[in-house]
Symmetry: C2
């Protein structure tokens, strides 16, 4: 019996709230937990758990990998918010980490989130979960660099790096945890590749930038619907019960926040 996205989200929240960090972090732990507590949608780890359940894994076994993906995402938010990068004072309605704790602590908290992500990804006997995460992290950093320097005019490849890589990894880590043979992974990975694009187009639509700025609202809405339909088609060819993932795709396409 597969669990609905909202149930999986509760499982993720509870795990993130209780996960033990390295005691050697000392009082830095407070600044590491702070950006994790801000109640995001947890869409990436929920995808990991849903993929895990669809391929027959116990969701709880996928949790460390799912949390690792969320920690990498959170690390990127903490560093991106710093004055040297986007200089954002707020994040999800709360002071961003560097406003709450100071720049030095926020910088180190971001570093610690990344290292903790790898610690979690390395709790499995296979190194593949960690490899998937390292590759996605490097793509994400490359994307952020292009965004900061304005080096890339091509919005699609920028989004693929900045957002798509980690969405793909949220699918990929679950496949490795569930020991899905590499030869059986391509249909899943084709699905993962669409997810990030869908998320980003809708994001641009809600923020009025990126695609919305480049193509206008109507055209962007059409692009989002197309991306959602493609993600759905990718699911349709996968020989598994992908109903929960279909619901996640529908939620992503229709989200208004």
């Amino acid at each position: 019996m597969l669990r609905a996205p909202e149930e999986l989200r509760t499982v993720v929240e509870s795990y993130l709230g209780e996960v033990a960090f390295a005691p050697e972090l000392g009082l830095l732990e407070e600044a590491v937990r702070y950006p994790l507590e801000s109640g995001g949608k947890r869409v990436r780890p929920v995808i990991s758990l849903a993929v895990g359940e669809a391929v027959g894994a116990v969701a709880e076994h996928v949790l460390p990998a799912a949390a690792a993906v969320e920690l990498v995402h959170t690390f990127s938010l903490v560093h991106d918010d710093l004055p040297a990068l986007d200089d954002d004072d707020e994040r999800r309605g709360r002071p961003s980490a560097h406003v709450a704790f100071g720049e030095a602590t926020a910088l180190l908290a971001g570093d610690a989130l990344l290292a903790e992500a790898f610690r979690l990804a390395l709790s499995y006997p296979t190194p593949m979960v960690g490899r998937e995460l390292a590759q996605a992290t490097l793509e994400m950093i490359g994307g952020q660099y292009r965004d900061v320097t304005g080096e890339t005019a091509d919005l699609a490849s920028l989004h693929r790096l900045k957002t798509g890589a980690l969405f793909s990894a949220s699918v990929g880590v679950a496949l490795w945890v569930a020991e899905v043979p590499e030869g059986d992974q391509p249909p899943w990975r084709a699905f993962g590749d669409e997810l990030g694009l869908l998320f980003q187009i809708v994001d641009d639509l809600l923020d009025g930038d990126g695609y919305a700025e480049a193509h206008g609202v109507e055209e962007t809405r059409r692009l989002a619907d197309e991306a959602g339909a493609r993600a759905q088609e990718r699911l349709d060819v996968i020989p598994a019960d992908t109903s929960v993932l279909a619901a996640i795709v529908a939620d992503l396409a229709a989200r208004t926040a």
Copy 2:
């Protein structure tokens, strides 16, 4: 035939100069390579290779793990030099990364160095190399946090976190690569634990801070000699040819830069 430290250093230099980074980093790669090119002593990766050769591994097989340790060290230097932390404009006689490339790029280059370190550590079939690195990285970050906040008055535990953890890991990763059974590792690890302390005491002596400030130059010299002697004693009980490592210990104790 074991190779001398200087030969191992050449092997490390050549590997670091040629190692391929993720192509997705794009033009950020220049800022990732810059702090790696500054010709440090490479003491940590040389220790990894020397331990590897002493336990019968081919040094070249240890190289990715050794380089991973050096990348974590370099990541920490790039972030520590940032204005938000130590605000150091120079590093080894050259402009530090944020002076050469700007704060945003230096921040992302540090992030990329850490992610690349894990990519290298994860190139082995065992996750243990990566686990060793993640644990040491978290201890190092915890140490840097205590240093920045002045939270810890205890110099020994601060040094153990800030410096000792990564020195211990430089020994530990080589043991995992060489598949030394966990039960045979304790004498090696006891040696690794002494190395960091020796390095840090001599560092304080050369910089006139830390131990030198707290205990005076003469007493600090005596503490350094004691740490060197203890490291040597740890080597003496290891049933392997540890002559190259003994030479490294002697170099560390006698270094003047």
